[in-house]
């Protein structure tokens, strides 16, 4: 028979250990704790499989009553380093979670807390399994309160009224209820509405349903009106209370769940901490609904989760500069502006101040306040006015004749005006003439200086510069002019019998054409009628331009040209 292999040996030992534990389980804690210790040592020695301690632990925790589990857990806590080194976190987690499930959250709060703290320390911070990745709501968190009057143990004394027969609206509260008479009047209306709000905080998804949302709004309005009606003015009182609490042991008030008895309602409303809790609940709800930056830590938490929970270990920044020790006397670099203040000391306060307004000379020169070049408008305003023939300024007094002005004008034009660079065939006898022509061009462009009178003189200048533009642009005055009677007569005369070809361009219908034919025999007359009916139809659109383009399209370019020239 061959020697048993290592694994076989290990499994044997595992089984043996478990068997012993089973036998010892009714014994005292210390016995099986030492057994588990033994198993851990065996793992370290390598004679036992790594999972055995955990199996043993799991068995122990499952079999023992809760009070003894406490001791086992202390053992687990003490040996936390062992668990980490053996790296079977999974097992530990599993058995501890089972234990957690068994424990009641409200009665064994301390024990639950210890287990959870332990788990939190055991796992790295970025461990995903401990997270509520999808931000789901704890739907089990139901607040219980007395919704139904009959469930209320605070019954009113109604028996005497019944005898006298006065109370009509009695309800079902009769003698079968044991009325412990309440000593203070209770506002049931507010009580019910207030605690119903907790259901909305528990499950904010309800807010998306219209009817629920309206109810929520109504109840919230009432509740907040009550809060507002009586502002708690006890900032001084609460400060004192906080100090008392701190001296008393430094523990904050903790409660697991709201107490919803009717009698407490009045006291709760007067408690500023309670109100704060409710208002924070509102904030959380709004955070969920709107995603605003009310609770920034929540935002950070959410975004961290969304990024896949990156590790929190900070890399040491490579260029971390050592902190400058503070010096008593200013170091030489400070003078030259390299110190932390970046101030250059000139030796004199006033000079320092002036220099440090902007220590960098180049930057200072670029600043807006050093922009001294005037705009075209400003500079040429006077010249434009003088160029206006209506003003009747004599040549020799025009500012463009001033050589100083002329020189500056040229410089400005070179910086600001595109006209300076346009090639022109015009010969200018003197700078003044050139400037005059430029002034006139500028006057056309600059919007707020009246320049209609200048146009009459512009045609000669425009010949060279604006030739390219002329064919497509009509002179501005004629563009929107309606066709006059005389023009129509002329066109009709020229069209003659060919008016039908124009008719199609003018979008005349066949019916209308027939009508025109029947109306008159004379072709000129027919042409005229055509134009008249076109004009009637177009109304304000019966412009020269439209007619000319129609004529050109119909094949009468000469008539079109003649029309536009009139």
């Amino acid at each position: 028979m061959p020697f048993p292999s290592e694994t076989e040996k290990k499994t044997t030992l595992d089984q043996a250990l478990r068997g012993v534990l089973e036998a010892e389980i009714k014994g005292s804690c210390d016995d099986f704790l030492s057994l588990i210790d033994l198993s851990i040592d065996s793992v370290t020695e390598g004679i036992c499989s790594a999972t055995t301690p955990f199996l043993l632990l799991g068995d122990v925790l499952d079999c023992l009553p809760l009070d003894q589990c406490d001791k086992i857990f202390t053992f687990v806590e003490e040996n936390v380093s062992t668990w980490k080194s053996v790296s079977s976190l999974f097992w530990v987690h599993g058995s501890l979670c089972d234990l957690l499930r068994r424990l009641s959250k409200s009665q064994n709060t301390v024990f639950c807390g210890r287990i959870q703290l332990f788990l939190a320390r055991l796992f790295p911070l970025s461990e995903k399994s401990g997270l509520n990745l999808q931000s789901q709501f704890n739907l089990d968190n139901i607040t219980v309160f007395n919704k139904n009057e009959q469930e209320s143990t605070l019954g009113q004394k109604h028996s005497e009224e019944k005898e006298e027969g006065m109370e009509v609206e009695e309800g079902e509260m009769g003698d079968e209820d044991e009325p412990a008479p309440c000593s203070i009047p209770i506002d049931y209306n507010l009580y019910r509405k207030f605690w119903t709000l907790q259901d909305y905080f528990r499950n904010p998804v309800q807010c998306y349903d219209k009817f629920s949302w309206m109810t929520f709004l109504k109840y919230s309005d009432e509740t907040l009106a009550v809060f507002k009606s009586y502002k708690l003015d006890d900032t001084q009182a609460s400060k004192r209370k906080l100090e008392e609490l701190r001296t008393a042991g430094g523990e904050h008030v903790y409660f697991a769940k709201f107490l919803t008895s009717e009698k407490l309602m009045d006291l709760q409303l007067s408690d500023s901490n309670f109100r704060r809790h409710i208002l924070v609940q509102y904030l959380i709800l709004f955070q969920y609904l709107k995603g605003q930056h009310i609770l920034n830590t929540e935002e950070n938490w959410n975004s961290w989760k969304n990024e896949g929970c990156p590790s929190f270990v900070k890399e040491r920044p490579a260029d971390a500069k050592p902190i400058r020790p503070t010096r008593k006397r200013p170091a030489p670099e400070d003078f030259l502006g390299k110190g932390p203040d970046r101030k250059i000391f000139m030796g004199n306060d006033e000079l320092t101040r002036l220099w440090n307004l902007n220590p960098d000379n180049m930057e200072a020169c670029k600043s807006d306040s050093r922009e001294f070049m005037p705009s075209l408008e400003e500079f040429f305003e006077e010249a434009i006015e003088q160029a206006d023939p209506a003003n009747m300024v004599e040549d020799e007094y025009k500012v463009v004749r001033n050589s100083n002005y002329g020189w500056r004008a040229l410089r400005l034009l070179s910086r600001r005006s595109p006209h300076f660079f346009q090639p022109t065939n015009q010969q200018f006898k003197s700078l003044a003439d050139y400037l005059e022509s430029m002034v006139i061009k500028l006057a056309k462009e600059l919007p707020d200086i009246p320049s209609e009178e200048i146009k009459t003189g512009e045609e000669e200048d425009d010949d060279n510069g604006d030739n390219l533009l002329k064919e497509t642009n009509d002179s501005p005055g004629i563009q929107h002019k309606l066709v006059s009677n005389q023009q129509m007569d002329e066109v009709a005369a020229k069209l003659g019998s060919q008016w039908k070809s124009l008719a199609s361009q003018l979008e005349m219908k066949a019916a209308e054409m027939r009508e025109i034919e029947t109306e008159s025999e004379d072709v000129d007359m027919q042409a005229k009628l055509l134009l008249v009916s076109w004009q009637d139809r177009e109304g304000t659109q019966a412009t020269v331009e439209n007619l000319a383009s129609a004529l050109t399209a119909a094949g009468f370019p000469k008539i079109a040209e003649a029309l536009t020239e009139t």
Binding site: E161, E169, G171, P185, D187, Y188, S229
Partner: protein, 323 residues
């Protein structure tokens, strides 16, 4: 009662029943409404419970004063005092037990009665009103025993100083007079408007609210609401409330006051206004605390509206009863 009448209704006075389960309120139409507090405070109360169980017309003109004795409800309106049995009212039977009228000098003009107070020592009723006098009536016999004269203008309010057996009255003439009930003489006369710290000349000098607990007195109206020490007859605290106060009362260590403005003011004895609790009527005339029952110990306020606000917790309005 149509909507227009409801709109113009003002509640002038309230009184709780001796058992504490009912509230009677009077309005400017001469009606008295009886509300059942136990049904409106019960857990299953609905809108119907906030309506009166009985409404009846008690007087021809507005009823300015209501008062409850051990078994009766007294109401005073246009110059006459009527008494109703609470037991009968609870059974919804509005039948007057007696009606009396003080002796007025002229029979042409009937002065209204603005306030009434009971002197428990000798079981008498003091009424003050438009004829500038206080008439004392014996409740046993119904006879008007005496008239206290002294005010130069009509009387707004009355209050009783139990320990000393003195009656306090405040009137339109700005004077608070302290009367000895046995002798019928005016012992002191305080002209509140003459004290600079209280006076508010822009409102006038009339005193419309007066209450006392033997050592201290609260009075207000045209002048600011002020707390007076009766032994030294000097003001100790002035309350900076805007508007003229119409009724004030002591409650534990607070002073509750209502008047112009839609809020109930909580003031501290030192002169600070602790809080202003909003109410539904735009202006308030009367505030009453039900001390006759612990279960139904509520505070009710009424004013220029058909709504009477009920407070279970002094800091907010729980619900409203409506006429």
């Amino acid at each position: 009662m149509g909507p227009v009448e409801l709109l113009h209704m003002s509640v002038f006075s309230q009184s709780f029943s001796p058992c504490g389960r009912f509230l009677a309120a009077s309005n400017n139409y001469g009606e008295i409404a009886v509300f059942s507090l136990s049904s409106s405070l019960s857990p299953e109360a609905t809108g119907i419970n906030q309506k009166p169980i009985l409404t009846f017309t008690a007087h021809e003109g507005p009823i300015f004063a209501l008062l409850s004795t051990d078994a009766h409800l007294l109401s005073a309106g246009n110059g006459e005092i009527s008494a109703w049995s609470w037991a009968e009212l609870a059974k919804r039977n509005p039948k007057a037990v007696w009606i009396r009228r003080p002796q007025y000098k002229s029979s042409l003009e009937i002065p209204e009665i603005n306030d009434m107070i009971v002197n428990c020592r000798d079981n008498s009723l003091a009424v003050g009103g438009g004829d500038n006098n206080i008439h004392i009536m014996d409740l046993e016999t119904g006879v008007f025993k005496s008239v206290l004269q002294g005010h130069t203008d009509y009387i707004h309010c009355l209050s009783m100083r139990e320990r000393e057996g003195e009656l306090l009255s405040g009137g339109e003439d700005g004077a608070v007079r302290i009367w000895d009930c046995r002798t019928g003489q005016s012992v002191h006369r305080l002209e509140v408007y003459k004290y600079e710290e209280c006076a508010r000349p822009q409102y006038g000098k009339w005193i419309s609210c007066l209450t006392t607990d033997s050592d201290w007195m609260l009075c207000g109206g045209g002048p600011s609401l002020s707390l007076w020490h009766l032994r030294s007859l000097s003001p100790t605290s002035i309350f900076p409330l805007s508007g003229c106060q119409r009724q004030a009362m002591f409650y534990q260590d607070l002073i509750l006051s209502v008047g112009e403005g839609h809020f109930l003011s909580h003031c501290l004895l030192g002169g600070d206004v602790k809080s202003l609790i909003p109410c539904s009527p735009p202006s308030l005339n009367t505030v009453a605390l039900n001390t006759n029952s612990t279960e139904h110990r509520v505070l009710t306020v009424g004013g220029s509206s058909d709504q009477i606000d009920v407070f279970t917790n002094l800091s907010y309005k729980a619900f409203s009863l409506s006429f």
